[in-house]
Assembly symmetry: C2
Amino acid sequence: MRREITGFSNPLLKEIRGLREKKLRKRAGLFLAEGLRIMTEARDAGFLPEMLFRVKDRDVHALEIALETAVLAAGGDVIETSPDILAKLSGKENAQIIMGVYKDHPTALEDIDREQAPIWLVAHAMRDPGNLGTMLRTGDAVGAGGLILIDDCTDPFSVESVRASMGAIFTQKVVQCRWDNFLPWLRAGKGQLVGTSLQTSVDYQAAAYTAPCFILTGNEAQGLPDDYESQCDLRVKMPMCGKADSLNAAVATAVMAYEVLNQFRRPS
Amino acid sequence: MRREITGFSNPLLKEIRGLREKKLRKRAGLFLAEGLRIMTEARDAGFLPEMLFRVKDRDVHALEIALETAVLAAGGDVIETSPDILAKLSGKENAQIIMGVYKDHPTALEDIDREQAPIWLVAHAMRDPGNLGTMLRTGDAVGAGGLILIDDCTDPFSVESVRASMGAIFTQKVVQCRWDNFLPWLRAGKGQLVGTSLQTSVDYQAAAYTAPCFILTGNEAQGLPDDYESQCDLRVKMPMCGKADSLNAAVATAVMAYEVLNQFRRPS
């Protein structure tokens, strides 16, 4: 249905703004994604928003018309409103002129088909939503199947994570599980678990990766717990030429993932 | 001098809090760095804070005693205060128990010795302080000489950038200049300028890099301007297997920088 919201006091706005709190967001099972480009990618991947918010009275891109038509046809709402209200919803000053409220779509570990992709990213206790979203974006780029979040991670469907994922939240599978569930699942099938470590002398370029390769990244502050690291089939290290002994978690994941991809795409 | 601050109304605190605003920070020529580890790395790199703030009345690490002794010997201040006040200064809830106020140390382009390092990172119009700090951290890891910031970038000495750099703000040279100054400087000596591009078919692993290699990264939203890209000696592309056509700026820089490093460290 197409309708209009003009006042800040509309109760729906409060509900949508609540999606920025993890607890309320999870309870609602909804999340926010912004911008025509990402919302079009979402549609291409099979996701339409329950509600589409748009700034009214302006020139409209053909892609937006197509998107709105699809939302209405699927029984969703198109809600016209003011730039101020959209900014309020997004929590950003220069908000996009269009945003969507989507059903979240976590995947159960058991529903993963590991043979579907040569690379899977696995992250333990990620705290930073920007890092998490960036990992999703990198996963898309290297052709990973998805991101498996181990133990207590920041919410992958938070506004910041979705924003950093640049649409990959719709193309990468997102699993949330405990280590105690992940490890038996992993060992019940094919799969090489690779972790970066300070306690190894194996250079990350000297190791031989095999698909499906599960790249395990530790928490930003502590790295991998020792007993998680000890379960890895391969422990490798990246060269660290300076004073620091580690990279940003999303950066380390990307450097590893591109090495694995490079090995896989090399003619053998 | 060692002294104590107990009240929130102390005018020095207002001054230090002002360092979180770019204009005030630049005018003061000071910046904030947090944590014993980073401050010890700073000292190793030759930087002592003008002022060291510490939570008083607690067990003290030997490294902290060494640091405080050095600060006092150099004529700096050690200021004891409460956890609440330190949290207020840092703007973070779980603040570090020690932080330092340092003189900023931008480097002039002319003072760069390009032969000093095989890799230099160059970034255009970076907007995100987290990305900028992460680039510094990556630069340290790959043995880069420093980060050259082109045109209008976010402040490298902001709290967020310094935090993301994890100490690399003290080990990497930081230059801020205009493109119109950078290009003539670059061309006046040895140096290969490498940019990532969507408009090339050269795989980033197929190109041959030579030192000193200047890796140029474009702004988060727009990428590199065409006329900047056209000045590159090499335009390369990374494989993008998914829906997206780009990586996060700090990730792209790291993937490129590790490829260059890997080529340089390979026995020829």
